[in-house]
């Protein structure tokens, strides 16, 4: 593995540029990943926000699903926001017919759980490992219904009807959030992930 890790951002669809910008603001080097050979060249992967059903269909058609599963099983660090969280879940509910994920985190994620776009919201939440509250942006966001033994809950929604719902999870080298840190200019979540990447090297 190279001295400076290269972080891939899955670029099939979604807010790829915002994740790359956030990672680069922390000094990371990034590459977009749309093909199996591009996946081979990166040390870690970020799965952006977007439409999870579109990402799944494209990942399947362009033969990225299996290689992604294999790399993650072999220990490649991965972080997913929103649609990316769905992609990293072992189990999902309210998916499209036949919808598959990459998997890796022992959790059940409910798609669009917070509601439609008129219900999209922002609020401050506490995230384990961060020094101060994090301003989280939720857009037609999923939540985590339940986690299995190895997955650690890092944060929960804190107000409104959904207070207490799990919105940030870590399991070993894998990280997932329901919200979009790439939209806020606060790079602490990306830095947390980059620290995880360094920890595996």
């Amino acid at each position: 593995m190279a001295a400076v890790p290269t972080i891939g951002v899955l670029a099939l669809q979604g807010d790829v540029r915002e994740h790359r910008r956030a990672l680069e603001s922390c000094g990371a080097s990034t590459e977009s990943v749309r093909r199996p050979e591009e996946l081979e060249r990166v040390d870690a992967i970020v799965i952006p926000g977007g439409e999870s059903t579109t990402m799944w269909r494209l990942a399947r058609t362009f033969e990225l699903l299996e290689p992604l599963r294999k790399r993650i099983e072999q220990g490649m660090p991965a972080y997913g926001s929103c649609a990316g969280m769905i992609m990293l879940a072992d189990r999902i509910s309210d998916g499209a017919e036949g919808q598959e994920t990459i998997g890796g985190i022992d959790m059940l994620v409910r798609r669009n759980a917070f509601g439609r776009q008129v219900d999209s919201f922002e609020e401050d939440i506490h995230v384990t490992g961060l020094d101060a509250p994090y301003h989280a942006v939720f857009i037609r966001a999923p939540w985590v219904e339940s986690v299995g033994g190895d997955a650690e809950v890092l944060g929960r929604a804190e107000s409104g009807d959904a207070a207490g719902r799990i919105v940030a999870v870590r399991q070993g080298h894998l990280l997932a959030t329901s919200f979009h840190p790439e939209l806020t200019g606060d790079a602490r979540i990306h830095r947390l992930f980059l620290d995880m990447v360094k920890g595996t090297q």
């Binding site: 807010d15 977007g50 439409e51 309210d94 669009n112 101060a132 107000s159 606060d186």
Partner: protein, 305 residues
């Protein structure tokens, strides 16, 4: 561990902010939004990999052929489409028709297109889009128009093109024009931005923001005449961040296959091998109308100002 400013504490979740409205459009980037008029079509679009569907009464090609006043879709149809798919559902309201927009918000649509494809309801004012929780996308043919819509609260912009023709030439013109206008602003010295704002008929602060960033403050999609995978890929190469396809899919010989091909070509817009591969065996494209043969009164892009 961080130099980031701590966020302002908020007691309750805030909905309908500019950030969640514009952010929703960021999540659609690199994707294809397809016009649909029935739940069945919506399902075909979702299965093909659309990031969202646009519910409307008639596709633009039929609006052109049939004439008459074109309005917001029937609420039953919109509800049927919302129930048929799990991806976001957009719907069109007439320019200036703020009550159609109120109805669409009440129905739970995820984005409203204040669209020149429908017959305008107000020839002076667009909708005050800040007054809504649901975000809006609006069409534009140049930077001034785009900035006026953003000033009114649009959270996403699309090129107008010439809807319902299957002729991509006007979408090309509008995308190039938007890019030229933005590049030109970036090249101006600061003291000339005041006059530029006057010429663009847009607020100075917004003009300065575009000049500094080199891009619009909201996501820019393309629309109006896209009928083939190559059309979609060309618009992406011209700087579109995603694609609306109207009549191009459901007026073609094999909608499911064409829809899927356009989705793939939008993701691999810079890879001619992929575009060539997905362009094979699609059956007939929509027949289309050459834009240069249209009377001025039949041009939709002139609606809105």
């Amino acid at each position: 561990m961080s130099t980031a400013t701590p966020a302002q504490p908020t007691a309750t979740p805030e909905t309908g902010t500019a950030r969640v409205k514009r952010g929703m459009a960021e999540m659609l980037k690199g994707g294809v939004i397809m016009d649909v008029v029935t739940p069945e079509q919506a399902k075909i679009a979702e299965d093909a990999g659309a990031v969202a569907v646009m519910a409307l009464e008639r596709v633009p090609a039929d609006i052109r052929a049939e004439g008459g006043v074109s309005r917001m879709s029937d609420p039953d149809m919109i509800e049927g489409i919302i129930n048929a798919v799990s991806i976001p559902v957009m719907a069109k309201a007439r320019i200036g028709h703020f009550v159609e927009a109120q109805v669409l918000q009440a129905l739970g649509v995820d984005y409203i297109d204040e669209s020149e494809v429908l017959t305008p309801a107000d020839y002076e004012n667009h909708i005050d889009k800040w007054a809504f929780t649901v975000p809006f996308v609006c069409g534009a043919t140049n930077l001034g128009e785009a900035l006026r819509r953003i000033t009114e609260g649009a959270a996403m912009i699309r090129s107008k093109g010439e809807a319902g023709t299957g002729d991509v030439s006007n979408a090309t013109t509008h995308m190039r024009r938007l890019r030229q206008d933005i590049r030109r602003l970036g090249a101006l010295p600061e003291d000339e931005l005041f006059v530029a704002a006057k010429e663009l008929q847009a607020p100075y602060e917004l003009v300065k923001e575009v000049a500094t960033a080199g891009k619009l403050p909201v996501v820019l999609f393309t629309a109006g005449g896209i009928a083939t995978p190559a059309d979609a890929a060309m618009m992406m190469q011209l700087g579109a961040e995603g694609v609306f396809v109207g009549s191009g899919i459901f007026k073609s010989g094999d909608p499911a296959k064409r829809a899927e091909a356009i989705v793939k070509a939008t993701t691999f817009y810079d890879d001619p091998d992929v575009i060539a591969k997905v362009s094979r065996g699609l059956g007939e494209a929509m027949v289309g109308i050459n834009v240069s043969t249209l009377q001025d009164s039949d041009r939709l892009a002139g609606r809105g100002w």
